[in-house]
């Protein structure tokens, strides 16, 4: 049988020549049924990118509805407490709905509207992307279905209520570990079934092309703003930027404009969970942690898996970081050494919540607390003339239930801040 191919689909092309590649990572590994929709989306996104009216509408809503730009805040007391680098906080937690997720949800919803899709689906882990999606659907009058693992519904109950209040239907997913990965599987099954009428607003820089690129582009505003702001404050770029990495959307947005700046260290913080054994953490880049390049949910990236290629269960106190794979662009930044990836344990993240709350009056989301935890370790080792920027991707209100259970708050007033 001959295997001649038509020019647009060249079977002999090297893998790296297919679209949506970040080095060897990324690509499109999906059931064929979705391909027409992905190609349509890719095309629509390209047209929107080139359309000044699209950007004008997005920028207008980001300013007036979402609350951009977010402040870049000098954390004076935290800096003094740690005694090292000057710490600046990029306050994505101050955005409407309480996290960076709305940057992307809004962009994709505008795209869905351009494409004439009336039905929106999304997955959510911590619930922040679900809330952001439900919000923009309310704003534009679109039907909204959000898939959420039942374990995550339990631990992020407040966000379930918020989504329902906003008019979204929340569908619980009981399969697997009933967390983010399982919610994505179910959202993809919905999309495969309703692909002709439905737009899938994917919430992280994951999945098949064009999602990792598109989601990154919508969050790029974080580093565009912070670059301008740090120059205003300090007249120079920071020495390091720290962000938590689940799928990696806030991190890629916070890093992106600094990638060509060799003197700015980029540090991603994964969930170290409660141990180093497979199943106890979500640290895909951790050495000997079980993270190996593979294909999960449409993209080639690091995947926590066993030696037979079955995807591992994960654990993190933060639902938003509790995922077995990671955005493909991070995989490339990891391999090239341009970014480094470390991890913070559940306990370290919870401690970081306390520290930031009491020194600065800012209660971070458990996800963002992983970045803060890394800053607590790093800042004291840096000179006082150094600048460390932390992306506070979301606020902690949604986590009050977990924090109350996990942290001993009795007699709290007598406790001293310890970093």
């Amino acid at each position: 049988m001959s295997s001649t191919a038509i020019p647009t689909i060249t079977s002999a092309a090297p893998v790296s020549a297919t679209p949506g590649r970040f080095g060897i990572y990324g690509g499109r590994y999906v059931p064929e049924t979705l391909m027409a929709a992905l190609l349509e989306l890719d095309h629509a996104y390209e047209l929107a990118q080139a359309d000044a009216a699209f950007h004008a509408e997005l920028d207008g809503l980001l300013k007036d509805y979402v609350g951009r730009p977010t402040p870049l805040y000098f954390a004076k007391r935290l800096t003094e407490t740690l005694g090292g680098a000057k710490i600046y906080l990029k306050r994505e937690d101050l955005l409407h709905t309480g996290a960076h997720k709305i940057n992307n949800a809004l962009g994709q919803a505008l795209l869905a509207r351009r494409m004439g899709k009336q039905r929106i689906i999304a997955e959510t882990g911590a619930g922040q992307h679900g809330v952001a999606t439900a919000t923009v659907c309310a704003l534009f009058g679109l039907e909204c279905v959000v898939y959420m693992g039942e374990e995550d519904m339990r631990r992020q109950e407040l966000n379930v209520f918020r989504m329902r209040l906003l008019g979204a239907e929340v569908r619980g997913v009981a399969s697997g570990s009933a967390t983010l990965k399982d919610a994505i599987n179910e959202a993809m099954r919905d999309w495969v079934t309703n692909v002709r009428t439905t737009f899938y607003i994917l919430g992280s820089a994951l999945g098949s092309h064009p999602y990792p690129t598109m989601v990154r582009d919508f969050h790029r505003v974080i580093s565009k703003e912070s670059k301008r702001q740090i120059l205003e404050h300090e007249g120079r770029l920071p020495d390091a930027i720290v962000a938590c990495v689940g799928g990696g959307s806030n991190a890629i947005g916070a890093f992106y404009e600094y990638i060509p700046e060799p003197n700015v260290a980029l540090i991603g913080v994964e969930a170290g969970g409660r141990g180093t054994a497979l199943g106890e953490h979500a640290a895909r880049f951790q050495k000997n942690g079980g993270g190996i390049p593979g294909v999960l949910q449409g993209t080639y990236s690091y995947v926590l898996q066993d030696d037979a290629g079955q995807v591992a269960t994960t654990h993190s106190v933060s639902a938003g970081l509790d995922y077995a794979s990671v955005g493909p662009e991070h995989a490339m930044l990891h391999d090239s050494g341009r970014a480094t990836y470390t991890s913070a344990t559940d306990a370290e993240a919870l401690n970081a919540v306390s520290v930031l709350s009491r020194t600065e009056g800012i209660i971070p989301a458990l996800e963002s607390a992983h970045a803060v935890a890394e800053a607590l370790k790093l800042a004291p080792k840096m000179g006082k003339d150094k600048i460390l920027m932390v992306n506070v991707s979301g606020r902690g209100d949604k986590d009050i239930g977990i924090m109350t259970r996990e942290m001993n708050l009795s007699g709290a007033a007598a406790q001293k801040v310890s970093a």
């Binding site: 295997s3 079977s11 590994y29 049924t33 399969s175 697997g176 294909v295 949910q297 898996q305 290629g309």
Partner: protein, 258 residues
Amino acid sequence: MPITFPNKPGLVIYLTAGDPDLGTTRDMAIAAIDNGADVIELGVPFSDPLADGPVIQRASERAVAKGTRLTDVLVICKEIRAARPQAGIILFSYLNPVVRLGMAAFATAAKDAGADGVLLTDMIVEEAAEYLEAMRTNDLAPVFLAAPTSPDERLKAIAENSRGFVYAISRVGITGTQAELASDAEQLVKRLKQFTKLPIALGFGISTPAHVQTVAGFADAAVIGSAIVGLVEKTAAAEAPRAVGDFVRSLRKGTTGA
């Protein structure tokens, strides 16, 4: 052992390997062949079967929980091949277990196990360079999926890069049984026939002898998956090979070769 469909329509029977256990999967495959299956699709269980409906999801979950590995599936493939040299055998997998083993190593092992071909659920033609090379080197048939949503230019590439047969998805959606065949199905088979002389096997939602009869009117073979896997789910392991054999015979009845 080329893939052929001497009966009209051909019958392709899907089994989730390792559910209820590997030995029973082997025996069910042999029973299916003995009762009229032309091709067996041995499904490699995966932790995240995102193209599958609830029935195959549950089977996959049970098989993964039992520790079923791709290499175990290759072992029973070899046993089925030894027992029934004339049948077609396709290894059906999500990509990750194959990537974990290594594409070239997988293809060599699949050939050694006597498989005729491979179908990777989440492999599209554009990403398939390494896969196609590994298939060519080992004289294995790559079978690609074609969907009702695929435009003609994609169907052409799918047809040209497939060997053995082309697997046409009868409807927009995931695997699972349904009452009636979607109208998408016949249209898709017609569109595919423009581009290839390969047999077209129609799958997704084909669960009854009446469906198989309908398929005979426009396609070369019918793939039966969830209906078989669902039957296995509610049958004791010791009875499962006979139950599968009986069911396959009922599908074959009324068509040629009955």
